[in-house]
């Protein structure tokens, strides 16, 4: 016989578990060291933000479809350092991109790894490196940007900041066009660990750059990556950003990309989510000036019991802004994809043009997708379109290929590939496109 318990006590004990877990995460985060006074201040401030909040549950609207309960059962530890075993170096080298062979920053478990990084023949006017090794003047300058994006107080973003001891920094001086793509490679080797990568990218007015942010693993154990990337685009600056997440299937990954765009700047982001047991990526775009352009291409591919959650928030605050967003999800087995795309168009943002499309391909009857476009439009002279489709592979399509001699399995693969193609094609590096074979 079971003993009846009141729902109140169940709830409160679940809440206690979550609160205890958040404290556990915060304590772990704060164990990383810093000697810089300004950074200590920033961290302490963020720690307070964390303490003020609760660890999300599915009762929170923003986390309704993404249940973090499994994470609560994982006892995390400090990262083991930035060492990569000699035996694993060849495996790591497979992630290197020939196009960015002399413009690569490597962080192992969130810690800078100079011996694996490669910075040569880069133009004057490009500041690239890890925060704590930059000259003091540069650090001073960065203080006005670090952790200053909208949404910095959100619980996981603040958690990252509360343990911030270093960061990947890329800053492009005014009018400089950096032709070489920059590769930020974040590798996990430590388990069970809380890994908190951080990146700060600043493109000054009229500058341009291409960034590849790649989250990879050499490790089969469980870990929790909580990553934050902040990108600032000055007037008329241009950034092409690719973010790939290929953590192992035991891992948890929560990622934040926060972007601020000044007038006539252009930001293109291609996000490819392949790994992790549970992954959540939140892309927050803030258009702060007129006539800015934002292009977002997303692809999530899930198998087994994976959960892949894409949240995006786009705020168009000034006239003549445009956004183009496509999010594609390919979901197999019992996996679960979530898409929530918010677009805000306040009264000041007249003559803007926002387009959003979410397309889902379900490859099994047990696969699941929850999609929610959320357009809040106050301005009256705007063009906004959105759509969501959920489909399966069409028998007629598979048959067409079979009737040309292609076996059913290869036909399905070809069609899945074709579905993903539009997003993969937008990755600017051929070598990376090749890596992302589904």
């Amino acid at each position: 016989m079971s003993i009846p318990s009141t729902s109140v006590s169940v709830t409160s004990s679940a809440a206690q578990t979550r609160a205890a877990y958040l404290s556990h995460l915060l304590a772990l985060a704060q164990r990383s060291e810093t000697t810089l006074p300004w950074l200590r201040e920033l961290r302490d401030h963020a720690a307070v933000r964390v303490q003020e909040q609760t660890f999300p549950s599915t009762r929170d609207e923003e986390w309704r479809f993404t249940d973090l309960s499994d994470l609560l059962a994982v006892e995390l530890a400090e990262v083991g350092g930035a060492e990569v075993q000699a035996a694993k170096l060849a495996e790591l080298a497979k992630f290197y991109l020939p196009e960015a062979d002399q413009s690569r920053l490597v962080f192992v478990n969130g810690i800078y790894a100079p011996q694996l990084s490669s910075l040569h023949h880069l133009p004057e006017g490009l500041t690239i490196g890890n925060l704590v090794n930059l000259p003091e003047a540069a650090q001073q300058h960065l203080q006005t940007y670090l952790a200053k994006q909208t949404g910095a107080e959100e619980v996981f973003t603040a958690l990252n900041t509360s343990g911030l001891s270093d960061a990947a920094v890329v800053q492009v001086r005014k009018n400089l066009v950096v032709e070489t793509p920059i590769h930020l490679l974040f590798v996990s080797t430590s388990s069970p660990a809380l890994i908190q990568p951080r990146a700060l990218v600043i493109a000054e007015p009229n500058s341009a750059l291409t960034i590849i942010e790649d989250h990879v693993t050499l490790n089969e154990g469980v870990y929790f990556t909580n990553s934050v990337t902040e990108i600032w685009l000055g007037d008329n600056a241009q950034a092409n950003h690719t973010r790939v997440q290929r953590d192992n299937l035991a891992a948890f990954h929560i990622g934040k990309t926060a972007v601020s765009q000044a007038r006539t700047s252009r930001y293109t982001c291609t996000v490819v989510n392949l790994g992790a047991k549970l992954a959540r990526h939140h892309l927050g775009i803030h258009q702060t000036g007129e006539q800015t352009e934002t292009t977002l291409n997303g692809l999530t591919v899930l198998h087994g019991e994976q959960v892949g959650d894409t949240h995006s928030t786009i705020a168009l605050t000034k006239p003549y802004g445009t956004t183009r967003q496509i999010q594609k999800n390919i979901v197999d087995d019992r996996a679960h994809a979530v898409f929530n795309g918010k677009v805000f168009v306040p009264k000041e943002a007249q003559l803007t043009d926002a387009g959003q499309l979410n397309r889902n391909l379900l490859l099994s009857s047990k696969a699941r997708v929850d999609t929610k476009p959320q357009l809040e439009i106050v301005a009256d002279n705007v063009k906004c379109t959105h759509g969501a489709t959920v489909g399966q592979l069409e028998t007629d399509e598979v048959f067409y290929l079979q009737s040309r001699g292609i076996d059913a399995d290869s036909a399905r693969k070809l069609l899945v590939h074709a579905f993903a193609y539009e997003v993969i094609e937008s990755i600017p590096l051929a070598s990376l496109r090749q890596h992302i074979q589904l």
């Binding site: 067409y400 079979q402 009737s403 040309r404 074709a418 579905f419």
Partner: protein, 259 residues
């Protein structure tokens, strides 16, 4: 052309088939020998496309009775891809668009799966390119179509020409053309018909499904079959097509009803 004792390529006996439990084919009998061109005509909805899809192995059509022998093998036992690799080719009435798959890659994968089946070495991209360039001439197609996604954004006529290009590359033993002429203007019709004529020879056979006698002025059939309500109700020579053009189908349907 009808050749005295040439090999039987396709032999269909009392074939019946359902779609969603509804009988569509109600006993088809047909024999096609090497070197022959057969035409099937008939009113809309009579089951012509159904027959072509059953022969190609579409899973939506359930064969409920009868036999189909292809080059001596039981065709109905074969997977669609194996039928294709053994030389059955269906030019679709409505070719599908496959965004994201380049026409050239598609053609190469299809061609190489046939080569593999025949125990031949696969062609690499370069050699295949030469082959395609040569075949493009057969349907007077611009090479620019090769780099586009399969049929995506193609006009009706371009899709049909692309089907014939595929046929030219796969060199079938049995080519089934389902209303390849529908929606074509006269120039495109000539090009397509010309292509088919170049591909037909004494070792293969063509089954041409059409609505209009017009096509048969360019592709001269040895036999014309009239299909109605899931059966072949009349078989004749090429003059039958002309008669149908003049008199329509009603007289045949009435004659059928009397029997």
């Amino acid at each position: 052309m009808v050749i005295g004792n040439s090999d039987v390529i396709l032999s269909v006996k009392d074939l019946t088939a359902n779609v969603d439990e509804t009988p569509i084919l109600k006993g088809i009998n047909l024999e096609i020998k090497a070197g022959e061109i057969h035409a099937i005509m008939g009113p809309n909805g009579s089951g012509k496309s159904t027959l072509s899809k059953v022969l190609a192995g579409h899973p939506a059509y359930e064969v409920t009775g009868g036999e189909v022998s292809y080059l001596g093998q039981n065709l109905l036992d074969m997977e669609p891809e194996d039928r294709a690799r053994s030389g059955v080719f269906l030019a679709f009435q409505y070719p599908l668009e496959i965004p994201g798959v380049s026409n050239l890659d598609f053609l190469r994968v299809a061609y190489n799966s046939k080569r593999k089946h025949e125990g031949l070495e696969e062609l690499d991209a370069f050699d295949f390119d030469d082959l395609v360039q040569e075949k493009l001439g057969i349907v007077k197609m611009d090479a620019a179509f090769l780099n586009r996604s399969v049929n995506e954004g193609f006009s009706g006529g371009e899709k049909k020409r692309n089907e014939i290009l595929q046929m030219a590359i796969l060199e079938p033993k049995l080519g089934i053309l389902d209303e390849t002429d529908s929606g074509l203007d006269i120039d495109a019709l000539r090009i397509v018909a010309n292509g088919v004529n170049q591909l037909a020879h004494s070792n293969n056979a063509m089954l041409v499904i059409t609505h209009y006698q017009r096509l048969l002025e360019y592709i001269i059939p040895d036999y014309v079959h009239v299909m109605a309500n899931g059966r072949i109700i009349r078989t004749g020579g090429k003059e039958l097509a002309l008669e149908l053009e003049e008199r329509g189908y009603d007289w045949l349907l009435e004659a059928e009803a009397v029997v």
